[in-house]
Symmetry: C2
Subunit: 233 residues, 2 copies
Amino acid sequence: MTQINHQRYFDCEDCLFKTISCQYIQKEEFEKLRAKSVQLRYKKGEVILKQGAKSTHFLFLRKGIIKFNYEDENGKNLILSINKAPALIGGANLVNAEFNLFSVCAIEDCEGCTIDVGILTRIALGNTLYLFKMLQFITDVFRSSIFNFISLAHKQVNGRIADILLFLSQNIYMSNEFVLSLSRQEFAEFAGCSKENVIHTLRKFHNEGLIKVEGKKILLNDPERLQKISKHG
Amino acid sequence: MTQINHQRYFDCEDCLFKTISCQYIQKEEFEKLRAKSVQLRYKKGEVILKQGAKSTHFLFLRKGIIKFNYEDENGKNLILSINKAPALIGGANLVNAEFNLFSVCAIEDCEGCTIDVGILTRIALGNTLYLFKMLQFITDVFRSSIFNFISLAHKQVNGRIADILLFLSQNIYMSNEFVLSLSRQEFAEFAGCSKENVIHTLRKFHNEGLIKVEGKKILLNDPERLQKISKHG
DNA sequence: ATCAAAAGGTGAAATAATACATCTTTTTAA
DNA sequence: TTAAAAAGATGTATTATTTCACCTTTTGAT
């Protein structure tokens, strides 16, 4: 973690997590959460939650982009999902295990604050509508990853890369033009193929006029045709 | 569904769902669930929940083996997960959507009973420990599928097929010797490869003495070596 | 019992993907 | 500022995978 002092970087007043929470719980209840929460900043590349570590808190991500990373027994990485703020992370473990199944890493500079699992659980147990809202928040993070997996599982690399480009454009950067937060290696870990295959395929799409690649800058020239490649597999 | 009459095939007294439920809720509460529940039998191959259909109830599966199936825009099938009783299914939608994201099909004869979502939700909202237990039940069904996906996403076909054989042996049939409930085509839909590739690979494993294949009968001769193939990718 | 359809199986050709060697460009740290 | 390291890029050889044509066996309906 970047910061060990309990420094305040941003104001809690305009926090989305506070706004949502206070629709369900009393201000005094929320104050109990806030009192124990710590504001944190992460630089691009930093690990926010470490696979295998004990999960001691949630993190409400108020700014930034993250990846969920799974490291296998051979040290090979796989990116399960990419998400942007706002998101409540660490929730893989709410109903589950006490250790993180995956790592969460910043792929752009991030800001957020820790939320004590014990206190949140206690409050949520006394307020089921709030509990449902929190569960929804947590599962949001996984919803998108299911369809990434489906793409991975039965499409070839062309289709998978088209899917990822469309996903990033529509769900993360909200634009046809964006500066990729991932290295080619990470892109490959998301697409489930080799780094070279990613480079070759992006080049091919570029040469065919589907996209324009200039280092990390990517422009989707023809999203409809990408959609067709995605559909065709 | 096989049966439209409210026929009773089995006794509710020894039902695991009842036993678990009654650890958390009153008998009278459970009786409300039971009164609305219908016992059902499904033959191998029958659809239990249909992708895209409105999800009107949960099913407590007390006997049998099922697959979660996703059919894509081109009509291609993908098996996301295979599970055996006891399981609470239909829960994909508890926090989510009102339509089934996947189909659930019997791959062995099944027995179970419907559980009204409305009543269960109402009871669970009044009893958070019970709610947590039900959520745990529901997420159980998905836990295993995550690791199947990880296998799919970054292993080659040898490793994926080794993984599936080990998974079936350890999680479904609980034995090194079993009669496969899947056709070769379905196996391929689970492994994310072609039917021929499944056949070739099983034959290769057979010839190398790793397994013994005789039609649907499979014996894992050397699970340790399969594990190595799984690990190597 | 018979026929048709579905599932299982095989080998070879075509295609896709990876691994490798090598080079260039960009980043990072001293 | 510079050197080292990391990331990006490319073409080719090797390996993996799919597709296809074809055949056999099993299953299910009449």
